[in-house]
Symmetry: D3
Subunit: 231 residues, 6 copies
């Protein structure tokens, strides 16, 4: 039993939430969940930050069963190598086991992991050695992003720049995974980078080749055009 | 541009979802997101499977900002040691950086990772060496669970048993992380194991000491009772 | 040839000890050693510190062939994971290869490894980076034990508290090894934690559930009672 | 409580051994243990196998406080490198922390680890993957020893040859550790390889340069001679 | 002393080569070597295969002091991550310590490492487990290249295709190293991929964006044009 | 296109070198290269530093096809163990795949890696953490070499001493690789240590047993003598 009242009221609130879900929400989705009880076939692997402010299904207005969701701090994908862990195995499982046709890496504004990479915040990172070691996988993004700013910069602009460079770096890491490379070569998989701004709710699409951002509207236009052309 | 029409229509649907979120859903939550734009203070670290059928915020009826969410295949927490990756860093960040007061590990029915651990399914795992290596972190759960079943068993009962043993194992792993151990010693952190049944929408609470399951109603009764006693 | 006279006299003394063993001690045990020459079947895996003051066979009054003995600094058992070394392999060998029916982890008073974990002694650890890295496997014990003491404490009480927390942590690590978990599930293996006080020669038994210590006499009484009950 | 009667009687016997030690043995050694209660200064680091038939203090007729003892399967010392564990840290601690003046690596007859390296026994090793991985540190010894035998050989002669090559290999590994190399350069540390034959109780000394074995008597003669010469 | 006459005559020939170098070749380059005796400042880090048929300085007609040369099997650059070894350290040293302004990765025809990646040759790789593990760093290239060929293909065309995909993959890995990313962001470093055909002596330049090959003549024309434009 | 004129002129010069090689040098060696187009059978694995001032083929006056060449900073060979990378795989490939009959490790004067190991230069190493970690494989050489010098020494004498100790250490590491150990036991492989002085062009041979250096002339005399004796 938690001795601290704050913990207790937090757990009570979560469990009441479950009760509410069971009595008020689940009945309306009963047939969907019944269909899903014995299998899943999501089209997309969605990789994003563990940040509490990001709801992949809310942002994309998707239902249970649509997105296979991998979350860690900084939406990081270590490059394929000799040291393989949770991210690599989830990618392998999603691509080879589930056969997803797209992978989205979604970074976001005000990301704690990105802020921890700023020179101005190195001291706070010393107390968290495991976080520091994990963020080595984003160091090349920091090296690139910091080039455009001064060493004292720590505002939203540099955090956004870093988050965008980071999404592009993680997409490059993603391409080093054999399962991904094989499907890309066969044109049966598409990778996409997103940046999500918490305050405005807006998503920008990051282009790997041009390293520029596009709006959702523009990205949609392009996709619809290409659909017509090939039809 | 994706050449495959299935990928294209999938991406179009996700981006239209984002547009719908922006125009129809976001406005009603604008002030919440505006408050969250420059910071988060979630009370709970919620660790669950990447499975597309699990929506932590739907199940717990929580809002953006409430749950710091870590997802990988099999809701696994490698024990603390010399090899530290995404899970260890997220725990360190949640406990030391964000100061969460509770950690929930949530397993589920029909889990692909659990099924991959069954002797009957070893062949399919050979094609996914990284998944196989990752699942070593759940081997002790398999060793324990398989004791009650025959080698051919592969139905929902053994999968559920394995998922439950796995949640208990991952809770034990969690206790080996120094940041967690320190807060447990000070009684400022509570760990809880959940099992979520996709078909029925029901959550069971797993008791680490008795290794039995409790209903949400019972768990709530106990928590409320203890709140009164201490008040 | 050692150039230093201290080394030389040390080696001479050890080799004379061997000669004495051969001429005076071995003859009386010749038939035991002859039986053991082609095989061993120890009942217990005994894990303890490399400390020169601990003699497992003396303390337990056992003969050659009785205890399979694993020794390292701090009687540490890294949790099962991706990085497996000498301890993990000895456990696997003892449990699967030799079929031991019990594993004892024995900590002790005035343990150098435990003292090295105290905040007051961090400086001395800087010169021994490998020791520092090895002791990460005991960090969660330190985090828990230090909670009851001040940062300056470095006396026998905190060292003993740390050693006891450490034995409990290593027992928890032991349970994460699949070979151990499988036999525990079948009730064919028992784990026990000991604390040995060098000055008094006394052993205390650590209870994993209550986290309290029991005397040898009490532990014996319980075991004998349970033997009668089941008989 | 152990449910299996074999385990129970084993634990009862060990705890009665402790009681016997306390009442009958300890009193005679009380002043020695009292002196040792607050510190140790062993002259030798003794590295040997976890095998239950080896009693370092019995063989060398030494007392508590004399030997710092490291034990694992196969008396293995991984070479110094990027992956450092229990053995490396014990060496660093013994050499830098305790200042031992000699290190003895002691192999033995009928060693299970050596037998596991024989081509004839590969099948049995498949069930123990962690042991297999640990024994990579002895592979170069196997490669050298097997050269003199046929692939079917599995008798005492090849096991002894392998154990001797293994002691020489582990001595070479020992020399790659910086703390050891530094003291060797200053002539303040001596390394020695031993082979212990369980059935006869005899110890042979292995010469690293000539790769031949010497008797204890011969080794003693040489040491005593060199003592006189330098005196 | 080598007992085998083949080894002996090989060593004699190499040492006579050194004598010939000392008496006939060195004198003419004495002032160059004298200048180089106390420092180097190479402009390029040249990464190529250990293959005996490749002479970087012969192919590029460069002198001692011009190319910092890193060679391993398959001209592989593991992606930056938690496991860093010889290649990563050489890159860091070349970029940060020596300040090279360009890095060339040079693959070649008939590469044994590339051939080992072909499905048709998997059996031969089983005897070389370390090589197999190292080649994981080229697996994504194999996955992509094999897409255009049948499983039985093992001729020069597929080996060349694989070698080219591999150079492109290793260039992508190179971009994940922070030291490289930082200098690329500042436009003070250029990466280039080469394919060298042993039989014809021809070098082709691989374009990372278009994934096409260019001749040396074309590459030169482009470089000279851009030099004029910017002048 | 490189924006920096220095990079551009460097690349232009290298590519013009290739053109010169193609038109002026290759024709004279066409038949050699044509023979080599489909296979290599080098007699020697030559391991040396990446330093731009070392040309293995120039020093030994060898042709393409003669030396299988492995280069990294500090001519380092990590000991065989659980962490195997580029060097280990190249050794395995050279010994088992190509069947070389000799391995030469060649250190050199003014080596940047050796200088980085000196206490006087520790500060500069802090900016290159990967280099620092790689040089752990040479730490035992530094520990031994520094014994003869003061902590401030940083001149050519200590650098040479360190480079020589390092070659001897890497030869010891080489012997821990099973493929090497097996062929050494069969007397079908010879190891040799070299030290190359850049300013004078002289090579010294390092004797592993005596830890002394010999001139090339002496080494040749011994080899020729032993050839006659055995003939
Ligand atoms: Zn974030
Ligand atoms: Zn799952
Ligand atoms: Zn101790
Ligand atoms: Zn043994
Ligand atoms: Zn090659
Ligand atoms: Zn060098």
């Amino acid at each position: 039993m938690p001795k601290c009242s704050e913990t207790r009221s937090n757990l009570i609130s979560l469990l009441r939430g479950v009760e509410h879900f069971n009595s008020e929400v689940f009945p309306a989705k009963e047939s969907l969940f019944s269909d899903l009880a014995s299998g899943q076939s999501p089209g997309t692997l969605f990789i994003t930050c563990a940040d509490s402010r990001i709801h992949p299904n809310l942002i994309t207005q998707t239902e249970p069963g649509d997105l296979f969701i991998l979350r860690n701090i900084g939406n990081i994908v270590p490059a394929y190598g000799e040291m393989l862990g949770g991210v690599s195995s989830a990618i392998e499982y999603a691509v080879l086991g589930l056969g997803v046709n797209s992978i989205i890496i979604c970074g976001h504004s005000d990301c704690g992991a990105m802020k921890a990479l700023l020179p101005a915040n190195q001291a706070s990172l010393e107390k968290m050695p495991t976080v520091k070691s994990w963020l080595r996988n984003a160091e090349a993004a920091a090296a690139a992003a910091l080039n455009d700013f001064t060493a004292e910069d720590a505002g939203p602009a540099i955090v956004r720049s870093l988050a965008e460079h980071n999404v592009l770096l993680q997409l490059a890491h993603l391409r080093t995974h054999p399962a991904v490379a094989a499907k890309l070569a066969r044109n049966t998989l598409t990778l996409q980078g997103w940046f999500y701004d918490i305050g405005s709710g807006e998503v920008s699409i990051l282009d790997e080749k041009t390293r520029r951002t596009t709006s959702v509207a523009e990205a949609l236009k392009e996709l619809e055009l290409s659909a017509e052309t090939q039809a």
